[in-house]
């Protein structure tokens, strides 16, 4: 398939316009629900401190569960994060800000990836390129939604990326310097996969932790989208590892050529785990 980058861009723009149109009623509803939520939520400072302390130990577990992100540097942040001055905010605000910080990190990571020729240029695999662009945009929308919900509850906007993962993401990106297109693509896919899985697992857990039904609905509407990102990246990673990049394609007839294992590699568990979930207060605004 010959791809005209201009036409692809136009299609993508059109797609994003449609997405924005589709989101409008969602945002209106979110605004309305947040109003209800605000009136129903009475923050209790003591409860907030308890909640904050109860999640400190999860920092270690979160970093240890992600091999790439647990590389040197990540664990050293535990002490700093454990003393984050976020205990004054309500439980839901802290959780929403942490989610926003994860989304901010994802946006930054995809943005960096798209500067790499084997991801962002016209010579990149078209499916991988479009996936990176669409997914970056989706994470930006998720960050906006989480921040809107946090602000509506009286919290601050989280504009920074998750502090626990920033150094290690930077290190992973730096390691891609000088990599071949094949190695580099695999490296980017591996990094994105870990971030997406952390996001999905965190939101599965957060759906239980947040108190308001509005916020539960918000997390529930996003966790599955992140899980889809994971599924796609698992399939792409498997095909790259199998030296079959030509099968990363949406062209008619591709399914017939896929190896049998490609049909199930994207959903390895019948129940989504949460052992790699980020601690709920990790990315709260200090």
């Amino acid at each position: 398939m010959n791809v005209d980058p201009r036409a692809l861009n136009e299609l993508l723009d059109e797609s994003q316009d449609l997405q924005a149109d589709a989101l409008r009623p969602t945002r209106d509803a979110l605004d309305e629900l947040v109003e209800v939520n605000r009136s129903a939520t009475i923050p209790d400072p003591l409860e907030n401190v308890d909640f904050h302390q109860s999640h400190r130990e999860g920092v270690v577990a979160s970093l240890a569960g992600a091999p790439l992100l647990a590389a040197a540097g990540g664990l050293a942040l535990v002490g700093v994060l454990a003393s984050a001055a976020s205990a004054a905010s309500s439980q839901d605000i802290q959780i929403l800000q942490t989610a926003a910080s994860i989304e901010n990190l994802a946006v930054a990571t995809y943005k960096t990836a798209l500067t790499l020729p084997y991801i962002g240029s016209s010579s990149a695999n078209a499916v991988v390129n479009k996936f990176a662009r669409v997914t970056m945009n989706q994470h930006a929308q998720h960050a906006d939604a989480f921040n809107a919900a946090a602000r509506a509850l009286g919290g601050k906007t989280q504009t920074k990326p998750d502090p626990a993962f920033v150094p290690v993401v930077n290190k992973a990106v730096a390691s891609l310097s000088g990599a071949s297109a094949a190695q580099g693509t695999l490296g980017v896919v591996g990094l994105a996969l870990e971030l997406e899985n952390i996001a999905a697992e965190t939101y599965v857990k957060d759906t239980v932790l947040v108190r308001s039904s509005t916020n539960k609905a918000l997390f529930a509407s996003i966790m599955g989208v992140e899980a889809q990102h994971v599924a796609v990246l698992l399939a792409v990673q498997a095909l790259l590892n199998a030296n079959a990049p030509q099968l990363i394609s949406l062209a008619p007839g591709t399914a017939a050529s896929l190896p049998a294992a490609a049909g199930s590699v994207g959903f390895p568990n019948a129940f989504y785990k949460t052992n790699n979930a980020a601690p709920a207060t990790q990315g709260a605004v200090k």
């Binding site: 398939m1 797609s15 999905a200 989208v225 008619p252 390895p268 568990n269 129940f271 989504y272 785990k273």
Partner: protein, 274 residues
């Protein structure tokens, strides 16, 4: 992107098979025990205000342990997930669809009513995948790509486990297991399945079922009352969403939730929830 000239997979499928095997082992070593622990917590929560019930968390864990061991034994002797599913749950039949007049069953309220609906949806998915695989085996769908067959058998096995999880909750609370398929959706699924003549048609039907399941779990998340029930529902919804992504990929469409016109969506809707 280079034009796909039906370049087949060359020589490294063993790597993919090994990877899948590793993931499957990880799933049974880590994922299943964690899930059953979650389900047992849900039972504890649901029973917290009714200590008189005879079924205990310990009894439940012993029961599901046997069920998991039984499934593993079936798989270990070479039976495929299709047979394992039929052996561990009652396979729904069209007759059971027609005789399930009142649903959810009387006496089920709150989270237990949701559990019953969820089990019926999972049963419907098992029923549909079983029917699809049977049709494929009988040669009624033309050539079936290996990846599609693997998808169907794996998804069927996972939906079977989802149904078992919800039914375990019902059984532990002294309620009858739900062995019928969802009566509201079954007639439509049967009618649609009768029109399926190829793999593409089957994939589209599966996409519809998976979408309904995912959106239903999502919609119920903010309505369930016990944290454990929310946790169980939340642990299943993303898996159905992953099924959806791979189905879109198989169909040659963008592999993610999207509008009717194919525009990718950042937020999963709930307009198709049961």
């Amino acid at each position: 992107m280079k034009k796909n000239k039906n370049i087949g997979f060359v020589g490294t499928e063993s790597e993919l098979v090994a990877m899948t095997k590793d993931l499957d082992e990880l799933h049974h070593d880590v994922g299943m025990p964690a899930m059953w622990e979650g389900v047992s917590n849900m039972i504890d929560n649901l029973q917290s205000d009714d200590a008189s019930r005879g079924t205990s968390r310990r009894t439940f864990l012993m029961g599901v342990g046997g069920a998991v061991a039984g499934s593993a034994a079936l798989l270990s002797v070479g039976l495929n997930p299709l047979h394992a599913a039929a052996a561990t749950t009652q396979k729904p039949s069209p007759k059971s669809i027609l005789t399930s007049a009142a649903f959810p069953p009387a006496g089920l309220k709150g989270d237990l009513a949701v559990a019953a609906v969820a089990a019926s949806l999972e049963n419907l998915a098992v029923y549909a995948y079983n029917a699809g695989l049977s049709a494929a085996t009988a040669g009624k769908l033309g050539t079936v790509p290996p990846a599609v067959a693997t998808f169907a058998t794996t998804a069927l096995a996972q939906h079977t486990q989802h149904a078992q999880a919800w039914n375990a909750v019902l059984a532990a609370n002294g309620k009858a297991k739900v062995t019928v398929v969802n009566p509201t959706l079954a007639p439509t699924v049967n009618a649609d399945f009768a029109k399926v003549t190829d793999v593409t048609g089957l994939a589209k039907l599966a996409l519809t079922l998976e979408t309904i399941a995912a959106e239903t779990y999502q919609a119920e998340t903010s309505k369930l009352s016990s944290a454990a029930a929310i946790g169980l529902s939340s642990s299943i919804q993303p898996v159905e969403m992953q099924h959806i992504a791979i189905l879109y990929y198989v169909l040659g469409e963008y592999p993610g939730v999207q509008s009717a016109s194919g525009s990718p969506l950042a937020f999963n809707p709930t307009n198709q929830a049961a």
